[in-house]
Symmetry: C2
Subunit: 470 residues, 2 copies
């Protein structure tokens, strides 16, 4: 219990941001989420900060001996030392050297040298950890797995009432049930300062989340400062200088996430949810008509103009250069057809394309074009479930994110049957009054509890937040 409390007080400052769920409820232990296999003994060993060390195993691909050279792990050793011994610098310490037999070394070995790369959908996060007298061994296939093991190791350490650090004899074998464990932050409705995003990434690492789904723009504001289209933020952000993410900010987020084994998945949602885009990009949005003349309002992105796709192509080219992850989220949710229906140019385009009066065909045409643009940029597109619902050529789709709460398992079943990969967000909206105040439903979710689930290729889950009050 001491462990739990210490860690709560120290790390879980962003409790509301964290979707802390374990997919099976077991007995309380110091490691969270509960590992696949966990055994510990009452036998415990004291840890002395001055006699504690991380080191690379002799066979490790990432480094050898006391050696460094693996940026991901070098940085992690620094970070976890401070997390494991939080009061090390605040306490009066005796100047005596610790006794030789008090030394404790955690030997970290990884099979693959991915030290300078980014975590991917296919990265192994598997690790084995054993702790015994005088030291521990942490073995992983990749540095990302080693990070998860370091997190678990740090959670095993606790202090007694006199402040002495202890760790119990322990053996852990662990790997994640799902390869995609995300947190979505919406930085359009509420601008989040950079430090809040970085702290969220810290919090994610403590619970082994591995995807930061950055819903970076939306109707209310466009805080992403584009190099090619700077007016998008200078006119579409809440403020052109104070409420934006500069290229340096974005780089900082990606670098901070990488060192914690977290992918940054950018979402540029269109054709709906784009009001703010229109302020800095003329002719992008559809002018709405009242009768035969424009009424001054604007609707979704205008799919009847070739300039729209030229713009999107240039924007996504930049995005693919800025964000290294091979996935990109294209949105596609909640498109209101009213404005499209009112606009004579859009109606004429519908006729020309043979869509009749079925605006879902226009929407499908638009999304198909955008998916093609990002596919050409070597990116796998993710779309909200709406696109799956109306899209005829489902072969083009790859990953669908289920967000509507009504019978989300039905949707999971249909999408996986269609051979798609699915991200589940529906039951984990932290901003909804109910679930926010009662955590039980979050834990009771059974993402694979639908018929024919054996057909799924890779079902993943995310935890979606649409409103963060800053």
């Amino acid at each position: 219990m001491e462990v739990q409390m210490r860690r709560r007080g120290r790390r879980y400052r962003f409790g509301p941001l964290l979707c802390l769920f374990s997919l099976s409820l077991r007995s309380v232990s110091g490691v969270w989420p509960f590992p696949q296999s966990f055994s510990s003994s009452p036998e415990r060993f004291s840890l002395q900060p001055d006699a504690f060390s991380f080191t690379y195993g002799p066979e490790s691909a990432a480094g050898t001996g006391t050696g460094a050279g693996c940026s991901v792990l070098d940085e992690a050793f620094v970070r976890y030392f401070r997390l494991i011994f939080p009061d090390y610098f605040h306490k009066q310490r005796p100047s005596l050297r610790p006794a030789p037999d008090s030394s404790f070394t955690l030997v970290v070995s990884v099979d693959q040298d991915e030290c300078d790369g980014y975590p991917t959908q296919d990265s192994s996060e598997r690790y084995n950890l054993s702790v015994t007298v005088g030291g521990g061994a942490l073995n992983a296939e990749s540095v990302w797995g080693a990070l998860r093991g370091l997190e678990s190791f740090s959670q095993l350490v606790y202090q007694d009432h006199s402040g002495t650090y202890y760790i119990n004899k322990t053996v852990i074998e662990d790997f994640p049930r799902f390869p995609f464990r995300g947190i979505l932050l919406d930085t359009s409705r509420h601008y989040l300062p950079l430090h809040a995003i970085l702290q969220t990434l810290d919090g994610m690492a403590y619970s082994k989340f591995n995807v930061f789904h950055w819903h970076i723009v939306d109707d209310p504001s466009f805080p992403y400062q584009s190099r090619t289209f700077p007016d998008l933020s200078s006119k579409g952000a809440y403020h052109p200088f104070t409420h934006i993410y500069t290229q340096t900010d974005v780089r900082k987020v990606i670098a901070h996430a990488r060192l914690r084994g977290i992918r940054v998945l950018p979402e540029f949602d269109s054709p709906g949810h784009t009001s703010s885009w229109g302020k800095g990009q003329p002719d992008l949005l559809t002018p709405c008509y009242s009768g035969s003349s424009p009424n001054g309002r604007f609707g979704p992105v205008n799919p009847s103009l070739s300039s729209t796709f030229q713009f999107m192509s240039t924007l996504f080219k930049e995005v693919s250069l800025v964000f290294p992850d091979s996935f990109i989220h294209l949105g596609g949710d909640e498109v209101d057809f009213t404005c499209w229906k009112s606009n004579p140019d859009v109606v004429a385009f519908m006729k020309k394309m043979g869509f009749g009066t079925d605006f879902t065909k226009l929407e499908a045409f638009y999304m198909e074009s955008i998916v093609n643009i990002t596919t050409a940029l070597n990116r796998t597109a993710i779309v909200w479930q709406d696109v799956f619902d109306y899209h005829e050529k489902r072969g083009l789709l790859s990953v669908v994110e289920v967000w509507r709460s009504s019978c989300y398992l039905c949707k999971m079943r249909r999408a996986t049957r269609a051979g798609l990969r699915v991200i589940l967000a529906a039951p984990w909206y932290l901003d909804l009054p109910g679930p926010t105040h009662h955590w039980t439903p979050f834990y009771n979710v059974r993402p694979l509890n639908f018929k024919g689930q054996s057909e799924w290729r890779a079902v993943s889950n995310t935890c979606l937040i649409t409103h963060i009050i800053t």
Copy 2:
């Protein structure tokens, strides 16, 4: 006066770190250091944060219109908006839009597009700034000059007692007298946390300093975490995990400095001042002898072993990859010959090399070798004045830093006569009790007040700090 006080309270939190000198004493004004040409009028214009903007000039090489795309200036606009209007986010603001005629735009134009590069010794920092009703124009040859102009502009803005922001009609033409205006931080005697270094860089930018001379290692500790020789920090730092600068830390320092037009000049001082190096690199330091046997102590780097130069070559190769600046500081000061004299291998080497008993020749041989290593890496070496004093082949030397207080102008004269470039540090030691408590001597320095100064090629000055209490 309001400007001065506001800025002191807000920005000069690191007063003791800043060597605020003007080379000629003039009347008080809002801009610091005092520009080469400055004229202002009592006519003043109010600035409304909501109606204020930075923009790129139409002819600017760095961007156009409201456009972005120049990382150095995009980031500077964000930073200076917050510095100019510090209470913008804390005050209750009326929701009304500002009146149209209250808008103020500073149009920034630069001739050269160096947005993604680093400032260099040859970078122009010249700028012209004019402020009139409704707007201002800032013109510079490079983005680095534009940064200096933005700093000056920000210093012109002040608030009256009701909180309204004002700027007076002003014309400034400015360029620095010396191209090298440095601050030295010693992070070996006292480890400085990363944030303290970053804040020092902020403080430097406020006074237009442009070189961060990072005296990163020395006798007491080796906090630089080398990729190729990780034991240097894991055994030579005050603490292997908490008192080091990781590669990520170093990158952060360089990036933070770049965005402020500050070069990062690393110093790896040898052959003296290297006690901490020996802990992680066996056989690097000279074993000292008492009589015919080693006494367990170590002296300077051992210049009699070829392994020494192999090590130095590998280390400096890494350093040249990590630090982009074309200059590197090799130290070379205060070498104590006692240990060399006691060591039979060194003595034998002296004999073999024909140095007789003149150990300055051995020191010169060592420094010459190190200079050659860094020259091959396309780096210009800086050495402390000691090397100039004993070095016979002065043609190898390029830049000398004068640090000894005794007749430093004599030394300036001799070095410039020898055709060398000189950095002056001697009169600006902030840690010395006298000058620290009395600022006048700092301002009274006349760096060029020596005979034959017309012979100098490029005399530069720095401001040296050897002890920072953290």
